[in-house]
Amino acid sequence: MELLIKNGYVVDPANGIDCEKLDIAVRGGKIVEEVSSSAKILDASNMLVMPGGVDIHSHIAGSKTNLARVLRPEDHFRDFERRTALTRSGVGHSVPSTYTTGYRYARMGYTTVIEPATPPLKARHTHDELNDTPIIDKACFPLFGNNWHVMEYLKNGDLELCAAYLSWMLRATKGYAIKIVNPGGVEAWHWGGNVVGLDSEVPHFGITPREIVRGLCKVNKMLKLPHAIHVHPNNLGKPGNYLTTIKTMECVKDLAEGASIHITHCQFTSFKGEDWSTLRSGAQEIARYVNRNDHVTIDMGQIIFTATTTMTGDGPFEYILHQISGRKWVNKDVEAETGAGVVPVVYKRRSFVNATQWAIGLELALLIEDPWKVYLTTDHPNGGPFTAYPRVVSWLMSKRARERTMSRMNQSAARKTILQSLEREYSFEEIAIVTRAGTAKALGLKAKGHLGVGADADISIYRINPKEIDPSRDYRAVRKALRRAAYTVKDGQIVVKDGEIKEVVQGRTFWIDSRVPKDLEEKIHRELSKSFREYYTVGMENYFIGEGELARSSPIYVGEAKV
């Protein structure tokens, strides 16, 4: 099928295109140089054309997401979608059901989403849900920061074996990157404890979080994985934690060639102050570090003033949140590897703490000079539902929008944030970077996030004219346009028109088919076979997920050539 998108104002930062009137030609699901005269014409006159959105961190699928759905039927009662001739019914404000998730992302012009925290033992569950999430392409990040094998190999200095293990694990879980959540802290939580910083010792394992992060960073480099280690640092949610975050970024600096670490939902780990009453933003310090160092990328983790659900692999943090807020709490530890917690939350404008958090996310994005280093997320649903992304865009693009929200929030917090003094307003190009081009680049997804020849034809077209609109003043129009794409094109097919689903397709699941030298692979296989059932209550052969279990498997070969 050939498609020609004509006359749109194209924003394609990866290829240096900024609001130029260009035609985009599509054939066979890819962007091509030109198409024949029988191509279907899509008239994008006066509209903004961007690559499809690439969300680098959103908890949409898997065990803890489902625990949250079950925990919170009240989240679903008022927000539901009826079935139509084309679409399945569904529910969900902060924890939508899978069909609803896919449709809502597509309606906003997003075409690739990463599920960022997958317990390997239950990765099959994640893939089951991703298979049922329509339209969007996806990938998942298995969790390794509290994994027994990893900690043992690193403690023993067995870097090669650790790399071989990670390689096997990525194939076993069909995962895409190395995710680390509260390294060492979740293992401590399995005894009811936690760690308090990079140099705490993990009980019984004789290793520190610093060693875990460094070790996995080295392994990441050895395996040549396309994305850096993706890290949720220790002490998340604790006043004063910005120091831990900086130390975490610093601790892998010497291992850098290019990006070596991605700090996720950085707002939650940029707190200054001794306690909640003295909470301040540590965004300036974080931003200063990111500005001076090229081995780091972050994503915002912006909060929205709404009722939402927290869910992370940070078991002890979720317990603390339960204790502070008194809200109901689900905890699910996963043997020998990781865990998760779920607690509902409401972010209130009048709350000094929440208002400060709101400011921190935006300060990060406005103070970090290079938009290729900072990405737009709400850590869905922890900071707010992904459907609020257009709102975040409007805050980035319009000081007026920020001021309006600030005027309605806790004034003590408003006075203490430097947000007042930040004049910067994102351009469309910068928005495209932080929501598509930059994220795709950080992920190493070469065919995503841009509109050059050879890219996947994932394109979003919005009903705003970037040449005429002043986003600083007309931020509401920007929000409205981004909520409901004029067109979303997925692999060259028009799947959304005027915010309505026109076609349902099955998205790909990307995973890393990682290979190490044969002798190493055989060695790890032998070792694991001997001891697997000592660690787990399932056998190795049942732990491993077959490629056929993915509805549309899209492996990316890395390392030794595939035979």
Binding site: N66, R83, P96, Y99, H190, W329, N331, Y536, E541
Partner: protein, 436 residues
């Protein structure tokens, strides 16, 4: 030629333990031997061919007539399509792949889809909505638990390998020997499990709520004013709480003793609350003993596809959930459903009589490998392959760990998989509707 094949690492399709270390010997497309299974799993494998239905049948003028697959599918689709409020029941003994088609079918025909969760741990889920749950996968119990409490369940009879694979008789990284753990059983009878416990606490029937509340009070330092509660001396609750607070890693495994007796979801609420409160003192978790091998899978599939874990009403075109209203037994008792599809379950046996009687008076389509009370009163019966023996599929263990069941042998000639049958019915319904 006797071709024999030993298949290792087989997942057992009986109870919620989903033991994945069975070794099954297959010879000439028959199950010849099974090792590592408990008495229940062994029975399922060794007797897989007993009481099989091999041909579809329909009931006509009070007579049961064998029919073709196509005709049975047609009839089933017609019944469901014509029904105003069909109930799609069962699901716990089939694969997730089949459950997914079930949801799609329920949406297509505007019915209610509910699993045996309703009559198992539905009340537990209701309590979770209010309290949450501090839980874990089973391996953590094996590695760390030094205090194991079985409350209102009898694993030796219902989950025979539970203790040896996951708790007091297992070997964990931090608990190598039996002596390193203490086992307590709380029940109304001195069950087989109670007999091998370190301590057995006998409580009166219908008084679990009081007992759990007494424990919560002790935890909070309140005085118990009565001499005895739930038939147990109050002092015992004080001692028990001391043990619970004093352990390093405690677990309560609970069963139908809490969900089925007076209080139902409130009993579980009290247990979940107790465990939650204990976490302020020590590490404590709670795990429900799920009965069937894929009842958990039904909860997971329904929840991710519709938002709700069981009793999902799709009759309005979007998911609605209200246990007590949209749950299978209630719908049957109120005689609200005018047709039923039953998959791998026997509600005519398992529902209380009033509900069973009403169910038997409406057209039932039953998909099952074996003859059951339900098949004997159904309008249409379609035989299916046994999942885990004759058909592959995904299942979820009681702690949410997903596993794959294998196909070990072929089903009897002419017998299809649940997924094929359901897909055929779904397509036929769509054909009748004239859409898609």
């Amino acid at each position: 030629m006797n071709v024999e094949n030993v298949i290792k690492g087989v997942v057992c399709p009986f109870c919620g333990c989903c033991c994945d270390d069975l070794e099954v010997t297959v010879r000439n497309n028959e199950i010849a031997k099974v090792e590592n299974a408990c008495a229940l799993g062994r029975a399922k494998f060794e007797r897989w061919n007993e009481g099989r239905i091999v041909r579809p049948s329909i009931r006509s003028d009070g007579k049961i007539l064998e029919t073709s697959f196509a005709k049975a599918v047609e009839r089933s689709a017609r019944i469901l399509y014509d029904a105003r409020y069909p109930l799609l029941w069962g699901w716990s003994c089939t694969s997730c792949e089949a459950q997914k088609i079930g949801v799609e079918l329920a949406e297509e025909v505007g019915g209610v889809i509910d699993s045996t969760t309703s009559t198992c741990h539905g009340p537990s889920i209701i309590a979770v909505h209010d309290v949450g749950e501090s839980s874990t996968t089973l391996g953590e119990v094996r590695h760390r638990a030094d205090l194991v409490i079985y409350w209102g369940c009898n694993p030796l009879h219902a989950h025979p390998r539970h203790m040896s694979r996951y708790s007091v008789l297992s070997e964990g990284r931090f608990r190598k020997r039996r002596g390193e753990r203490k086992m307590i059983v709380v029940d109304v009878r001195r069950t087989a499990t109670a007999k091998i416990a370190d301590e057995f606490i006998k409580i009166e029937p219908n008084s679990d709520y009081e007992a759990l509340t007494a424990l919560r009070m002790c935890l909070k330092g309140e005085e118990l004013e009565q001499e005895s509660i739930a038939g147990v001396p109050s002092k015992k609750f004080e001692e028990l709480i001391d043990e619970m607070v004093g352990c390093q890693f405690g677990v309560i495994f609970f069963g139908l003793g809490l969900t089925m007796s007076a209080g139902k979801s409130r009993n579980v609420d009290a247990a979940l609350s107790l465990v939650r409160d204990l976490n302020s003192k020590t590490k404590f978790v709670i795990v429900p003993m799920r009965g069937h091998f894929n009842v958990t899978g039904a909860n997971e599939v329904f929840a991710w596809q519709t938002g709700y874990p069981f009793a999902v009403d799709l009759s309005q075109g979007y998911p609605r959930y209200n246990p007590g209203e949209t749950s299978g037994v209630d719908i049957a008792t109120r005689h609200d459903c005018d047709a039923a599809l039953v998959v791998g379950s026997d509600p005519i046996s398992n529902f209380p009589l009033e509900a069973a009687r009403n169910l038997s008076s409406i057209p039932i389509i039953c998909i099952d490998p074996h003859e059951t009370a339900t098949t004997s009163v159904s309008d249409t019966v379609i035989p299916s392959a046994i999942v885990g023996i004759e058909a592959e599929g995904t299942v979820y263990r009681m702690d949410g760990v997903p596993l794959l069941l294998r196909k070990l042998i072929d089903p009897p000639e002419g017998v299809s998989k649940d997924t094929e049958i359901l897909e055929a019915i779904l397509n036929e319904v769509r054909r009748i509707r004239g859409g898609r």
